[in-house]
């Protein structure tokens, strides 16, 4: 099949020194947690990487009080001085980029190619971007008054990037934070705590509490938390929205998606195929804005699918630390079970399943790139977010039908359009109910560009000028 084989090109694990156990980061110190510690594993090998503390409600309370205490001084600091701390953080991230990339790939399972070339550079860029806003808030149009203590809960798909999206604007606006990383990927947040110390950030400005859902609920529910920011599943987002109702806390949510990637017959097919692959197989499909529904115009369906299958056959699945790897490991056994279950439902409902011939490693959590053809709108796999490398293919005949199908979802995070006709792009972009529309590209992110959803994909925007609104008393 392959014309030639790639020699393995593994990144060195020695770049990261992982200790046997880690505590919480509260008021500038690493401390023990009162809850039962948990283990974080490398999803590619199932080996335990470290033991991590669980923050109890009391620990969370201590963290919130530390943040409250630090808020006075931090918010009173001139914006230009706050900015310098954020610039310092950004520079340290760049200096430690390789270490962070390896760590992220070890704990998350994503290919080093992505953590090294996408995640970590974007993390640094976010801190640089919001550092620049800290002394220019009066120009943004949202006032200059911070909210207070921000309680932030982030997911496992982009552990460090989601941390940056949450912490950088919060600090730039003068808030202090208590952040809870996901229980399967806590390590890079703890590394970030160390970076805060290296930057000599005042104690209590950033606090990291680790643990699972209960710890997150304690952060969200704490009466002294003024702002809640959450990225994760729509299901958990709904629980949080209900909990926050009537409390006066400000809330932003980045939730699920079921993006339509729409390919017209006049699209540049090879580019579209690259965009489709990038849309659904980037980060193993663990992306809320993944292009999980391919809507292809009927007249080019066969040609496009043939091209797509050919391209999929060249994807390399395996060791995340190998620089040749395109698709890494599924983040957890639980997530793998969910992907398998939904894929089985896809088959049982009558869609046709296809994967390229690919050997999966024996240990670890793996799922091959998969496409389902003959998918109808009523199928579960066309409606539910799978959050894995699974693409559902649907067809359409007219632009109006494409719009109708694309919008036929409770979600509204992102969408893709592939056509060479400019006026059609503008017409489509106008009609699609989604927060981010990628035309002739997909899955592009930038700190200067607002990101966030319509409808049940949540509320608020992260990134750009709009991202400041969430952290100021508007």
């Amino acid at each position: 099949m392959a014309i030639f084989e790639y020699a393995p090109a593994p990144e060195s694990r020695d770049l990261v020194d992982i200790k046997a156990s880690y505590g919480l980061f509260i008021d500038g110190e690493f401390v023990d947690g009162a809850g039962a510690p948990f283990k974080t594993v490398n999803p590619a090998t199932e080996e335990t990487l470290a033991e991590v503390a669980t923050a109890s409600a009391d620990d969370v309370d201590r963290a919130v009080r530390a943040a409250r205490k630090a808020f006075g001084g931090w918010s009173a600091l001139p914006g230009a001085e706050r900015a310098k701390y954020l610039f310092r953080i950004a520079r340290i991230i760049q200096e430690r980029a390789r270490e962070l990339a390896v760590l992220e790939s070890l704990d998350n399972g994503k290919p080093i190619r992505e953590s090294r070339d996408v995640d970590v550079p974007l993390v640094a860029a976010h801190f640089f971007y919001y550092a620049g806003w800290a002394d220019k808030l009066e120009y943004a149009g949202f006032g200059t008054k911070p909210l207070g203590v921000a309680g932030q809960v982030i997911p496992w798909n982009f552990p460090l990037l989601m941390l940056a999206w949450k912490i950088a604007p919060a600090l730039a606006c003068g808030n202090t934070v208590v952040l809870k990383p996901a229980e399967t990927t806590p390590l890079s947040a703890l590394w970030f705590a160390d970076i805060c110390r290296q930057a000599e950030l005042p104690p209590g400005v950033v606090n990291i509490v680790t643990g699972a859902g209960e710890t997150g609920a304690a952060v969200v529910g704490h009466p002294e938390v003024d702002k809640v920011a959450f990225t994760g599943s729509t299901e958990v987002g709904r629980i949080i929205a209900r909990a926050v109702a009537g409390t006066g806390k400000k809330l932003t949510l980045e939730l699920g998606g079921k993006a339509a990637n729409i390919v017209f017959e006049d699209a540049a097919i090879d580019q579209a195929v690259e965009g489709i692959v990038n849309g659904i197989f980037f980060n193993q499909g663990h992306v809320c804005c993944a292009g999980s529904r391919l809507l292809v115009q009927e007249s080019v369906q066969e040609e496009l699918l043939a091209s797509l299958k050919r391209r999929l056959a060249t994807l390399r699945v395996g060791d995340p630390l190998d620089k040749n790897t395109d698709v890494g490991a599924i983040n957890s056994a639980e997530q793998l079970a969910k992907i398998r279950e939904l894929s089985a439902v896809g088959e049982s409902e009558g869609a046709e399943r296809w994967s390229p011939a690919c050997e999966l490693p024996e240990r670890g959590f793996w799922f091959p790139p998969t496409i389902f053809t003959g998918v109808a709108q009523s199928h579960t796999i066309a409606r539910d977010e799978i959050f894995g490398p699974v693409l559902s293919v649907l067809t359409f005949r007219t632009p109006a039908e494409a719009v109708e199908k694309a919008n036929n979802t409770p979600y509204g995070l992102s969408a893709g359009i592939w056509t060479e006709k400019g006026s059609r792009i503008l017409w489509m972009a106008d009609k699609l109910r989604a927060g981010v529309v990628w035309a002739n590209t997909f899955n592009k992110f930038d700190p200067a560009s607002p990101f966030g959803g319509y409808k049940e994909s949540g509320y608020g925007r992260e990134g750009g000028l709009h991202g400041l609104e969430a952290y100021l008393d508007v």
Binding site: R238, A245, L255, S449
Partner: protein, 273 residues
């Protein structure tokens, strides 16, 4: 018997989809000694949402200039009925007239925003790569408005910012003084505003608000007119089900009332040859 003429009294109804139906429930409630308002049911509220959804594509698709013109036209029609509204508002004449004037002025203020809000809230984003990247605000969809107690000014202050940006709405009029609201609906009906853009219900807030807050085809919820904290919290909780955008408080004249019911859409396109 006196030969004095008997006045023709007005029967106040609902305003749904550009028409003035009675409540399907057949109920009404007394507002003054002589006048009743229709007491809308949950079914009326659902019908109103259907009408608002139907009107959304046309209204949100109209040009900003056109929407601004129509809102200004509403102000014109309101000005023309100045004396009538003052009568309906009651109380000291001078104060009533001031209320009507303030309402007209507020409408004119919001009308002017139609083609400016995108300039204030939209951005060109300088991303690190060869892309054209633009963010612009868009209406959220169907908004349910629980109008504040001020019968006319409160109503217009809540409704104008919602519709000027392209949303359509279902409004629950002030419970104690709903009559100016229905008369305002007559103004809307004669102002080139497409049917269904504003749908107005009179009745009991506690009966109508929870249903609208829980309605899965409503995208936004303005609770500034809900005074009872328990009802407000219950509505916020119900709104969480489909993540409605909720406004609980805002200044009367400001961009917040508009942006609360707008989304930001960001479009990327490669730039190259």
């Amino acid at each position: 018997m006196s030969d004095r003429r008997v006045t023709v009294r007005k029967t106040y109804k609902l305003f749904i989809g550009g028409a003035f139906p009675r409540s399907e429930s057949g109920r009404s409630y007394p507002v003054t000694r002589t006048e009743h308002a229709a007491r809308a049911s949950r079914k009326d509220a659902r019908d109103a949402v259907v009408a608002a959804r139907k009107a959304f594509p046309g209204w949100s698709g109209a040009t900003a200039y056109n929407r601004g013109q129509i809102l200004y036209r509403v102000a014109e029609m309101l000005e023309g009925r100045r004396a009538q509204f003052a009568d309906e508002l009651g109380g000291p004449r001078k104060q009533a007239l001031e209320q009507v004037d303030a309402t007209v002025d507020r409408l004119v203020w919001y009308a002017g925003w139609s083609d400016k809000i995108a300039a204030v809230r939209g951005t060109a984003n300088p991303v690190a790569g060869p892309y054209l990247n633009l963010s612009s605000p868009e209406p959220v969809g169907v908004v349910a408005v629980i109008a504040p107690a001020e019968p006319l000014l409160g109503l217009v202050t809540a409704v104008a910012p919602v519709i000027v940006t392209g949303n359509t709405c279902v409004v629950v009029a002030a419970e104690r003084a709903p009559l100016p609201a229905i008369t305002f609906a007559e103004v809307l009906a004669t102002s080139d505003l497409p049917g269904g853009v504003v749908n107005l219900l009179t009745g009991h807030q506690a009966e109508l608000a929870p249903g609208l807050a829980a309605h899965m085809d409503v995208n936004g919820l303005d609770l500034t007119g809900v005074a009872a904290p328990e009802l407000k919290q219950a509505c916020e909780q119900a709104a969480a089900e489909n993540f409605k955008r909720v406004l609980t408080a805002a200044e009367d004249q400001g961009t917040r009332r508009m942006t609360a019911f707008m989304e930001t859409k960001t479009v990327w396109h490669p730039a190259g040859i």
